[in-house]
Amino acid sequence: MSEENDMVTVDKYFKFLSEKKLMGSKCPKCGNIDLPPRRLCSKCQTESEWVPLSGKGVLKTFSSIYVGAKAMTQKGYNRKKPYVFAVCEMEEGCSVSGQLIGVEEDKPESIPFEMPVQAVYLKTQTGTDKEGNPIYRWDVGFEPLK
């Protein structure tokens, strides 16, 4: 069984992200694509299969966040250095949240709606293991399409 045929799980999605692969789920019946992936298609609830995504999409909405989530303040973001939380729609039709980088975060008026974006892969330390080695998680983020 190839990995693309594995059951759709959250853990597998994160493993793909750690390999810098953006994988969604595709419904074999209606063709709908979900991101984040779902075992059951969000349109017709048929069991879905993994599908690689292009990583290209457009910015649907966003906020420059000055008082941030702990996961972000730990990375050094603060009132003087905001980050951008974004919702992007992929060219396959599905939408996902992600940090938008490569823009002027403190000039949110300058960030255009419907701007073409491409996926980036962002690493966050979430803790340490028994030996004190860092544990990371990988998330999809976005930057302006180059």
């Binding site: 969000s42 966040i65 974004a86 919702v87 996902v96 983020g141």
Partner: protein, 424 residues
């Protein structure tokens, strides 16, 4: 068609003072205060012994206070044990859900008289701790690590609304200014200063500290200044609701039992509840300028009561952020999408407007003890429809139809209720 199998009435309702009550008052104290006040506002009195069941809304005492299993705890404090006592959780709509379950339990014939409570003690944690606990109401798996915060999620809705309809920060500030005017008239509100008074306090503070005294022409200039810092663009500090401790309590009875407690019951004529994906990005159809679950909950409540938006004379809507009030007015059908901002600017939602909104001060100034908020809204509509709202906030007309609208998270759970003075 959805209907209640028998009529259900509110016979009494009240709240504790909302505010930064901890550590002077804890959930245990605030709940008993709300209960005592609700018994007082039940015309012929009510005893815990007649209550068939207790429904409690609480979002997360587990995270705020390391306390689970709160329903029997609260039931015992006021003498409702050994009757059934259950807790309901739907983030900021927790007690809205509890209320709907209580209504259905009477309509079904299982119960004759029930008590609905809501309680939350948030200020035991610091702001960072509260923000972290509230974040559990959003999607931890996918949204949180993308940087989502509650202000950030509503800011994303605001930004989409600005982009689509040309809405401006000033449109949102009109909502905030009204909230402070109403909170000023509510002795149970957390923030009872008007914005003008807050501006004076800030000036006096600057004088005391020997710092340059800020000059603001009016509220708008103050709200555009550094004294109103950006939290999540385009939302600033004064666009956000408060971190609040508080409790609220309501008694419901069947039509057969209601007159034992009052000659003037307020009838629950329509109830509705809707759901949507927990995460904003999964809302199908790309709807980022409103909340679909509100439309569904409202559809059910309108259908059950036979009412339409134009029949609603007064409403408490879920204004956890100023933008949330604006989109609620559109999603509930009071205004076409993109048209609420102009109506607010015309004063239509003020106490003397065509349809007063959030006369209590709303979540913005009355306060937002998340699990108590849904029942707290019902308390205001009960008082307004009875004509007993305190100070100057009583709406000066005969209010025959009122509504409450309670949202959980960024819109994954919504409860809408319609109340009438007459039986329908």
């Amino acid at each position: 068609m959805r209907h209640l199998n028998r009529r259900v009435a509110i016979v009494g309702a009240a709240m504790s003072k909302f505010g930064i009550n901890y550590p002077k008052l804890r959930s245990i104290d605030m709940w008993q205060e709300a209960w005592i006040n609700a018994v007082k506002l039940t015309d012929k009195g009510i005893s815990p012994k007649v209550i068939d069941e207790f429904f409690l809304g609480n979002f997360t005492a587990d995270l705020f206070n390391h306390q689970g299993h709160m329903a029997p705890q609260m039931a015992d404090l006021v003498g409702m044990t050994p009757k059934p006592a259950s807790r309901f959780e739907g983030a900021c709509a927790s007690s809205g859900i509890a209320f709907r379950q209580g209504v259905m339990s009477i309509a079904s014939g299982v119960n004759d008289v029930v008590c609905i409570g809501g309680v939350e003690q948030m200020n035991e944690l610091n702001t960072e701790g509260v923000t972290g606990a509230l974040a559990a109401a959003a999607d931890t798996t996918y949204e949180y690590y993308a940087g989502a915060t509650f202000p950030g999620l509503y800011a994303a809705i605001a930004n989409a609304h600005f982009h689509k309809f040309g809405t401006t920060p000033k449109d949102l500030w009109n909502i905030a200014i009204k909230a402070y005017e109403n909170g000023h008239e509510n002795p149970f509100a957390q923030e009872q200063h008007t914005l003008k008074e807050i501006m004076e306090l800030k000036k006096n503070k600057a004088i005391k500290r020997g710092k340059p005294v800020p000059e603001w022409k009016d509220e708008y200039e103050f709200l555009a200044s550094r004294s109103n810092p950006m939290i999540a663009y385009p939302l600033r500090l004064f666009d956000c609701s408060l971190i609040t401790d508080g409790a609220a309590c309501v008694f419901l009875a069947s039509e057969e039992e209601a007159y034992k407690y009052t000659d003037n019951p307020i009838w629950v004529s329509g109830i509705g509840q809707g759901s949507a994906s927990l995460s904003l990005h999964d809302r199908k159809g790309g709807l980022l300028t409103g909340i679909n679950a509100t439309k569904e909950a409202a559809r059910q409540a309108y259908e059950m009561s036979g009412m339409s938006p134009k029949d609603i004379q007064i409403a408490e809507v879920h204004d956890c952020f100023t933008i949330a009030e604006l989109v609620a007015l559109e999603d509930l059908g009071f205004y076409e999408p993109g048209k609420a901002a102009a109506a607010i600017a015309r004063g239509e939602t003020k106490r003397d407007g065509v349809r007063p909104i959030n006369t209590s001060g709303g979540l913005k100034t009355k306060g937002h003890p998340v699990g108590a908020t849904g029942v707290g809204q019902i308390v205001e509509i009960f008082k307004q429809m009875r004509g007993i709202a305190e100070r100057n906030r009583q709406v000066k007309k005969d209010l025959k139809v009122g509504m409450t609208h309670n949202v959980g998270g960024s819109g994954a759970t919504v409860v809408v209720n319609i109340f009438t003075k007459e039986k329908i």
